[in-house]
């Protein structure tokens, strides 16, 4: 069996003969059908090596294979069905609200994706679109336009939302026109200040008319066509519907000439211009669309919340939206939805001490499994962590009894299990602070050391982390949430710069 090596530049006569034998696969010479797939030097196999490399390993290949099998529409249908099933299963109002929030963030991320992911316009003022929509709905569907808390326009939700979204489109287009003057990073800066300005205005406006610091209340719930939405479950259904419709619309747009044009202008604006694309108009359109979707999410938010405050639209929220998009994968609609889900769930888990403990310890375990190989070494590390911990607890307890007098902060079975393990003094604040600093030192050590020293550092650091968590961090869940969120962002970006569902990109500087 011989396999002929086909060079990239053919010899004219040779080729004519060989082409007779081709199987239609781009000029591959097939001597032995069985050898075709793995034959080295076959033109198409070589050509597709890049794809195989990008496929990644493990779960990502599974995902990519699934993606290739199912079309986009079946996948969207699956997501929608999953969403509906979820609604049937859950009865807990809190969970329904969390689900609503994740869909809201998914919607916001999808809108942001148009500007950032597709068109490459870094819109750091996106929060203003969200706010515009929310305040717009608040003004039209409440007593805000009336006098002294009565009257006002109580437009039906459909009208309110349509007016606000349309207005957002106009405002977005105008701002886009202004931003045309500046490019790249400078555009980002201008939008950043637009967002900041929105907050300042909303905050400083006369409380009597548009709420000011006090916000606006008593908003009408969504009601149209005789249906009024009042329960969290109801709002969840509305949000699910919105997400599905917007996702579908955006996909249709992405696969059309406009979507191609946006992505082209992201890749190389100059070349795009030379290829007949009216770049400025496209940028304004992208910005307008993003603003409209952000505003749409804003109206839903306002209706569900029943009130709006300036503090709903701070830079922190903008950061969360960006986190959703980037974690999920910039440029991907599915990524935006996944990101919205992941970030909202993580944020909520971190809010409750029990769930936070699961997340914290769960992440440590996952990190160990992912990073410490082979399995035998992992076994040693786990043994070391357990042994070291109990040993330290016993030693310290014997020397300074008050040092172990406190109770671990985690509620439930975790706390009880760790009682004899972690060192928690009766007054853990200062000790906890010291442990926190020790934890940072430990993390640095892990990265800098190698070999056996690294493993020892890992063991000690995990124990310190557990003690710190039980004694200090768990006591202030609000602060801990933020720290964990920040840490998750840092680590995720370092590990997967393209996000979970993002595709490998090449950027020309």
């Amino acid at each position: 069996m011989s396999v002929s090596v086909k060079r990239d530049q053919p010899d004219a006569e040779d080729n004519a003969a060989k082409r007779e034998q081709t199987d239609g696969e781009g000029g591959a010479t097939v001597e032995d059908p069985g050898a075709q797939r793995g034959s080295i030097g076959v033109d198409s196999w070589v050509a597709q090596s890049g794809e195989r490399r990008d496929e990644g390993a493990g779960w990502r290949r599974v995902l990519a294979a699934a993606e290739a099998r199912l079309g986009w529409w079946p996948r969207l249908a699956l997501v929608a069905i999953a969403g509906l099933i979820f609604a049937q299963l859950s009865t807990n109002v809190n969970i329904q609200t969390v689900a609503f929030n994740s869909l809201l963030y998914a919607l916001l991320a999808m809108g942001l994706n148009i500007a950032v992911g597709w068109s490459g316009l870094l819109d750091l003022g996106y929060i203003a679109s969200f706010g515009f929509g929310a305040y717009g709905y608040a003004i039209f569907s409440s007593t805000a336009l009336g006098t002294d808390g009565s009257g006002g326009s109580h437009l039906p939700a459909i009208e309110s939302i349509l007016i606000v979204v349309a207005a957002a489109g106009v405002v977005g287009a105008v701002l886009g026109l202004i931003a045309l003057r500046v490019s790249g990073d400078y555009f980002a800066i201008v939008t950043l200040f637009v967002g900041q300005a929105f907050f300042e205005v909303a905050n400083n406006v006369d409380p009597g008319t548009f709420g000011g610091v006090n916000g606006l209340f008593g908003l009408d719930p969504l009601h149209s066509f005789g249906v009024t939405v009042t329960t969290p479950l109801g709002y969840y259904y509305v949000a699910l519907g919105m997400c599905v419709i917007v996702a579908a619309g955006l996909h249709l747009l992405d696969t059309s000439r406009t979507g191609r044009a946006w992505r082209a202008l992201n890749d190389d604006e100059l070349a795009a211009q030379a290829m007949t694309l009216s770049v400025n108009k496209l940028k304004v359109m992208a910005y307008a669309f993003a603003t409209m979707i952000g505003a749409l999410a804003g109206t839903l938010f306002a209706a569900q919340q029943d009130n709006v405050f300036p503090t709903n639209f701070t830079a922190n929220i903008l950061i969360l939206i960006y986190a959703c998009l980037v974690l999920g994968g910039v440029g991907s609609i599915a990524g935006a939805i996944l990101g919205g889900l992941v970030v909202t769930v993580a944020e909520n888990m971190l809010g409750s001490p029990t769930d936070a403990a699961y997340l914290f310890y769960g992440l440590i375990i996952i990190a160990l499994i992912a990073k410490v190989r082979p399995w035998r070494r992992l076994g040693w590390v786990v043994a070391g962590v357990i042994g070291f911990g109990y040993a330290m607890h016993a030693i310290v307890g014997a020397i300074v009894p008050s040092a172990t007098a406190g109770h671990p902060g985690s509620p439930g079975w975790i706390g009880s299990a760790l009682k004899g393990y972690v060192i928690v003094p009766s007054n853990p604040q200062n000790f906890g602070n010291a442990l926190y600093l020790a934890l940072i030192v430990g993390l640095v050590a892990i990265v800098r050391l190698r070999g056996i020293k690294q493993l020892i550092a890992v063991i000690i650091t995990i124990y310190v982390a557990a003690c710190c968590w039980e004694g200090r961090l768990i006591v202030n869940p609000a602060i801990t949430t933020q720290i964990m969120l920040g840490a998750i962002l840092i680590v995720t970006m370092a590990a997967r710069p393209y996000g979970l569902l993002g595709k490998h990109r090449v950027e020309t500087v």
């Binding site: 990239d8 530049q9 053919p10 696969e25 781009g26 000029g27 198409s44 050509a47 597709q48 890049g50 794809e51 619309g249 249709l252 747009l253 059309s256 000439r257 406009t258 979507g259 191609r260 044009a261 992505r263 082209a264 992201n266 890749d267 190389d268 100059l270 070349a271 795009a272 211009q273 030379a274 290829m275 007949t276 694309l277 009216s278 770049v279 359109m285 669309f289 595709k503 990109r505 090449v506 950027e507 020309t508």
Partner: protein, 263 residues
């Protein structure tokens, strides 16, 4: 009347005169090559024609109509397409998408039409697909079917050059400008490119303006050659005439006082 008329064109960057009083004409069904040493202003001519730079003086006319001062995308829509010396593909888009994108100016479907897949949008998509297929087929085996869904960044260098030409063709130009199409190609690839350019002129009746350094290519394809140096046209004519012209020889190889003394 020539399709492209460049009339006393001048371009200055501050004190540097990149182009001085340039006159060039290109007709349909004709390949005009622009040659000259590096820094002669050749790419600048392309950039002025495509609207990236504004000339300091002079006129450029396409089919009798002046195009000076128009935006680049308008000029592209009027029928001038180009490739770039240092490839400028849409790297993260697939081969077929790169080509399809260039049909933007010839399609009209608005976003709402696209989203709702109204008849006009659907019809245009079919046409766009047909154009892309047709243009890519021009390159035969090289940009064969299985490559169409690969991202552009994964293509080999020669294929990237070909893709750029394909993309330019998708705009349905009247004038095609190729900036060093054979740069960096080995002899076999160079031969193919030269054949291709010839086919473009014959089969598509294009007017083609080519910047090229490889004299074999210039010799093989040109109907006329224009030689530039320091932004000034030093001569014009058939390849033989230009290649042996003393001023051209001097520009490339330097002065030979003895030869000049003899002449």
């Amino acid at each position: 009347m020539a399709l492209l008329e460049i009339d006393k064109l001048s371009l200055a960057f501050g004190g540097l005169r990149a182009i001085s009083e340039l006159d060039i004409e290109v007709n349909e069904n004709e390949i005009v090559s622009v040659i000259g040493p590096n820094g002669a202003g050749k790419s600048s001519v392309f950039n002025v024609i495509s609207g990236i730079y504004k000339p300091s003086s002079g006129d450029i006319r396409l089919g009798g109509e002046s195009i000076v001062g128009r935006k680049p995308y308008r000029i592209a829509r009027l029928g001038i397409a180009r490739t770039f010396q240092s490839l400028r593909l849409f790297q993260n888009m697939t081969v077929k998408e790169n080509v399809k994108t260039a049909t933007y100016g010839n399609t009209k479907a608005s976003p709402p039409e696209s989203i709702l897949r109204l008849p006009r949008a659907r019809r245009e998509e079919r046409e766009v697909d047909a154009v892309a297929t047709e243009v890519l087929s021009f390159f035969g085996e090289r940009l064969a079917g299985y490559r169409w869904d690969q991202p552009a960044y994964s293509l080999s260098y020669a294929n990237r050059r070909r893709l750029e030409i394909a993309r330019a063709l998708a705009t349905r130009p009247r004038l095609l400008m190729l900036d060093e199409p054979a740069a960096g190609m080995n002899p076999n690839e160079t031969l193919e490119i030269a054949e291709l350019i010839g086919r473009l002129r014959d089969e598509l009746s294009l007017a083609i303006l080519v910047i090229e350094h490889d004299m074999h290519v210039v010799e093989g394809i040109s109907d006329r050659v224009v030689a530039l140096d320091h932004g000034v046209k030093i001569t014009e004519g058939s390849f033989e005439a230009v290649a042996t012209h003393p001023a051209v020889v001097e520009a490339y190889l330097g002065r030979d006082p003895e030869a000049l003394a003899e002449a």
